[in-house]
């Protein structure tokens, strides 16, 4: 696999690189950010997302806890309510932030959790116990779903589960198995998805509107359109390159170093993110957008707020600016509102900029109305002043010339 830093960046995929970083930072802090990359085949949706696995920072968990319990806030059925001493006795360990995938052979049992067959059929000591599925195991990490539109079409049951997990932040999941106690645990998982809206069964919002709304941001991928970039991509994927990469130890070390750089950055950004907040005037601005353009989804403006802060953080700033918010508008809203409204909104914000007073929606609106010329002349006589034969006028009477 090509390491993250070697992937070609161009206009059409720049947004996804940013979003991936933002989501990693956010997940590291403990607030999921769900992404959906849509685009034609070969635009690198899956490649970029899978490559991000290499740069994920480490997280600390209670030793051996398959639910990735945070030692400071254990949540799983085994460790919940333990005292610090008890946890210290078990010990803690560092593991890479989980990055798991839901494939198309997934079943409800493998995704949520099911009875542990190995323990059940153990001839020496058969025991009924729970084996958590992919979602609980991906807690505090990332869960990747490729071709999510097909999954939504063929497995509505799994889709329902995703809806639950993505419904709130943190989401929650309930594992039920006949004969075992019900397990209900919170899960903090960022769902990353990729799909090609042009292939069967069509774009996600047509298959499961609800699920598409759950994604905080959607990134529309563009095709690479420069010869240089394509040539470099080909080179990176040539057979010689691939073989060489597998053999050379030196490049391994280099990759590791580069990945580490990203890791350090993520940790640094996560710290900044913890200390940054959206200024009040921008929060008002977002609220006004919601009212003015009749946006239906509250999730959309929540995502706009979260995204704006993250965007400023990964741009190495500690203050959020208006263009952090505006650059989030298309990402957050493209899958939620129709193209016309989006364009109106973007142009509205663009044309005025920060200086002309973004907070002043009303002033502008009124001005436009005044300049509109009057449709009628206001000199009509009242019915009382008219004689009987003037009262009723037909189209013919009023436009004599045309008949």
């Amino acid at each position: 696999m090509i390491p993250f830093y070697k992937l070609q960046r161009y206009e059409g995929n720049a947004a996804l690189f940013e979003l991936v970083m933002m989501s990693i930072v956010s997940s590291y802090v403990g607030e999921p950010l769900h992404l959906h990359a849509e685009g034609l085949r070969g635009t690198g949706k899956t490649t970029i997302m899978r490559a991000a696995k290499g740069i994920l920072p480490n997280i600390t968990r209670i030793k051996g806890c398959i639910y990735n319990c945070d030692p400071e806030d254990p949540h799983c059925p085994h460790h919940k309510g333990m005292t610090e001493e008890e946890i210290n006795r078990i010990g803690v360990e560092e593991i890479p932030m989980p990055f798991l995938e839901i494939s198309h052979s997934a079943k409800v049992g493998t995704v949520v959790g099911s009875i542990d067959l190995a323990k059940l059929t153990d001839p020496a000591r058969p025991e009924a116990s729970m084996l958590p599925g992919l979602i609980p195991q991906a807690h505090r990490g990332i869960l990747f779903v490729d071709e999510i539109n097909r999954l939504a079409d063929t497995s509505p049951e799994i889709t329902d589960i995703l809806l639950d997990v993505m419904g709130n932040k943190p989401g929650h999941i309930q594992i039920e198995e006949a004969g075992l106690p019900v397990v209900d645990i919170p899960v903090n998982v960022s769902i990353w998805a990729a799909s090609n809206p042009d292939e069967d069964p069509g774009p996600l919002e047509e298959i499961r509107r609800q699920l598409s709304d759950r994604f905080d941001m959607v990134c529309y991928m563009g095709r690479p359109d420069s010869v240089d970039i394509l040539a470099q991509m080909l080179e990176e994927n040539s057979h010689r390159h691939k073989i060489k990469r597998n053999q050379e130890k030196r490049s391994q070390a280099e990759n590791e170093a580069k990945d580490n750089e990203y890791r350090q950055k993520v940790i640094k950004w996560a710290n900044t993110y913890n200390n940054t907040d959206l200024p009040d005037f921008l929060r008002n601005f977002i609220a006004r957008l919601y009212i003015k353009h009749n946006i239906e989804s509250i999730r959309a403006i929540e995502a706009m707020q979260q995204g704006a802060v993250l965007h400023s953080v990964i741009s190495n700033r500690d203050k959020v600016m208006i263009n952090d918010v505006t650059s989030m508008i298309p990402l957050v809203l493209k899958h939620r509102i129709d193209g016309d409204t989006l364009i109106r909104m973007v142009n509205d914000v663009e044309s005025r900029g920060a200086r002309e007073g973004i907070l002043n929606f009303r002033g502008k609106k009124n001005k436009e109305k005044e300049s509109e010329p009057e449709y009628f002349q206001h000199n009509a006589r009242s019915l009382k002043d008219m004689s009987r034969n003037e009262l009723v006028n037909t189209e013919k009477d009023l436009t004599p010339g045309e008949y």
Binding site: D198, G202, S327, G339, I343, V346, Q377, M386, V392, E395
Partner: protein, 592 residues
């Protein structure tokens, strides 16, 4: 007293005129600022004629404002005035009093029967509904001070919007109402507006003027180097708008070629209209955006226009994806109106596939399909315990299998009337339907057209979108309606192709007028219709109300169903097909 009499006379004369003109389905201007009809009214900004009010013949007032089922129940009175504050309660009081006074004048005996008089007035008060910008309600409610709030964008911001449920012999009331309401407007210090003239027409679908809000990055437009996202979004949105109108990227190019400097590629406006309908609106918008300019030699593409064309060619892949995405969108069901007549009963074949999320355990049933291993082991564990086995054993009764789902594939053949009357929007709507069906379903689609004196298989049964698009692009409506020929061709196509549960959908806005075997076009089409049930083909016909009588008979012959719409637009067509597919699935479920 003299004045009183004139009011009664005026009212009576107005009443007579109104019942005359309303009977002819016309509306009138009453006085200078009031428009009265039984239809909806609209301003006409599109024609840039000021002070004109259009009476929308296809919008009945009762149906559209008050959700009445029957037409012609409600008289619609609009009194235009300069925007200002008019208290609806005052209006209600004035009308109430005016009615009371009027009854008294007309029949002075009522003076001694106050209850009777009050009952009469109150009766009318419940049937009259007033909207001003300050609130709305029936006169009865308003009179008692109950005001419902006005909602932004509703009728009534620059006029008093009054709806009255009156019988033919009560139209004289219109004058009483209008005079009283005018009095309140003037008393509130607001001037009456002068309605210059009225015209009658149908309400058109609102044309979107996108030139107003799309901002093209023309000044620094450098093709794919357009760095900022909003610019690109703007261009893409413009192209999507155009695609909605013209059908696809290729057709946008074709349209733009019509304004190239290459004389051989230029198409006359008439030819364009035949294919795409009313192109003038879009042309205007493009001009406003600076993509097309006027020269002494006619309209040609400007430099910006050429750049846009280049952009389209360069980004065809992405644009086509976006366009297809829009085609896949299902319209919201509420807005469309159609009526279904007749019922179809055909048998369906089904396709089965495995459902990995549901298992069945039925030892008595013979099984075929995939074994569900985990569920089987669980069952075996349990059962071994009950059976008292020493170790895990698996018996037949333990086996779990994955369930099967099934669906009914329906291959659709569109039989499209391509006679002259279908030109423009109707053609576009039918083509859109074909694309929508292909993109949203798993089934094959075919298109057969009939026009002039013959019919043609434009698209054979296919799942290939480019085949479909190429075929559709060749449809140019013209000529007569040889329906019999069309039906025969479509039936033969279905017979020859390998199709599952064929559904033949005929879209027409006329009745046959070119014959096939005899000299009687209608009889020939009837004869041809027999072949549809003979070949076990499910048939629906989508037509317009005016041809109901003939189409009903035709559909009966064909053992099909008839859908009547008031307008052959995209949403209607798509909703009908969805409805039809749903009935087929429901009938399957009922049988099971």
């Amino acid at each position: 007293m003299l004045e009183e009499r004139t009011r009664i006379d005026k009212a009576a004369s107005v009443g007579n005129y109104l019942s005359l003109y309303f009977g002819q389905d016309q509306g009138v201007r009453l006085g200078e600022s009031t428009v009265v009809s039984r239809k909806g009214h609209a301003r006409m900004p599109e024609k840039r004629v000021k002070g004109q009010i259009k009476i929308l013949l296809n919008r009945d007032a009762g149906k559209s404002y008050l959700d009445y089922v029957e037409a012609d129940q409600v008289v619609h009175i609009d009194i235009y005035h300069r925007p200002g504050i008019i208290d609806p309660r005052m209006v209600a009081q004035a009308i109430f009093n005016a009615m009371d006074e009027y009854f008294l004048d007309k029949d002075p005996q009522l003076k001694y029967a106050e209850d009777e008089r009050f009952k009469m007035v109150a009766d009318y008060a419940n049937k009259i509904y007033v909207v001003s910008k300050q609130g709305k309600g029936t006169i009865y409610d308003l009179f008692q001070g109950i005001v419902k709030p006005y909602t932004e964008g509703e009728e009534g911001w620059d006029h008093l919007h009054i709806l009255a449920r009156l019988n033919r012999d009560e139209y004289y009331m219109v004058y009483i109402i209008a005079e009283a309401a005018e009095g309140v407007i003037l008393a509130s210090g607001v001037k009456l507006s002068r309605v210059r003239n009225i015209i009658h027409g149908n309400q058109k679908q609102e044309q979107d003027s996108y030139a107003g809000y799309i901002k093209l990055p023309w000044k620094n437009f450098k093709g794919h180097h357009a760095q900022q996202l909003p610019d690109k979004e703007n261009v893409n949105q413009l192209i999507l708008k155009l695609a909605e109108k013209f059908g696809g990227v290729d057709e946008i190019e074709e349209f733009m070629e019509s304004y190239s400097t290459n004389v051989f590629k230029r198409k006359g406006i008439e030819q364009q209209k035949k294919k795409w309908g009313d192109v003038e609106h879009d042309l205007e918008q493009l001009e406003e955006l600076g993509l097309i300019k006027n020269t002494p030699f006619g309209k040609i593409m400007s430099k910006k226009g050429l750049e846009l064309k280049e952009y389209v060619i360069k980004h065809k892949c992405e644009l086509e994806t976006e366009i297809r995405r829009n085609i896949r969108k299902t319209p919201s069901g509420g807005s469309s109106r159609f009526r279904k007549m007749g019922e179809i009963t055909n048998k369906n074949s089904e396709v089965e596939f495995t459902n990995h999320n549901k298992t069945i355990n039925d030892p008595d049933k013979n099984w075929s399909g995939d074994l569900a291993v985990p569920e089987t082991i669980l069952q075996a564990m349990k059962n071994s315990f009950f059976r008292g086995d020493d170790s895990l054993t698996i018996k037949k009764e333990d086996l779990h299998f994955y369930d099967k789902k099934s669906y009914v594939p329906i291959d659709v053949c569109l039989l499209m009337d391509a006679s002259g009357s279908m030109a423009g929007d109707k053609r576009q709507a039918a083509c859109f339907l074909a694309e929508h069906m292909l993109l949203t379903g798993k089934e094959k689609v075919a298109v057969v057209t009939f026009q002039e004196r013959s019919s043609e298989v434009v698209v054979p049964f296919t799942r290939n979108q480019s085949v479909l698009n190429k075929g559709l692009a060749t449809i140019t409506p013209a000529g007569l309606t040889p329906m019999a020929d069309g039906i025969v061709t479509a039936v033969n196509l279905i017979k020859e192709s390998k199709v599952r549960n064929p559904l033949l959908v005929m879209i027409t806005d006329g009745i046959p007028n070119t014959s096939l075997w005899t000299t009687d076009a209608k009889a020939d089409a009837m004869e041809a219709a027999y072949r549809i049930p003979e070949n076990d083909i499910r048939f629906i016909c989508i037509g317009v109300e005016s041809n109901r009588y003939y189409l009903e008979k035709l559909v009966e012959r064909a053992k099909g169903a008839l859908y009547l719409v008031d307008d052959l637009n995209k949403d209607n067509l798509i909703n009908i097909i969805h409805n039809e597919k749903k009935t087929i699935l429901d009938s399957k479920r009922q049988m099971a």
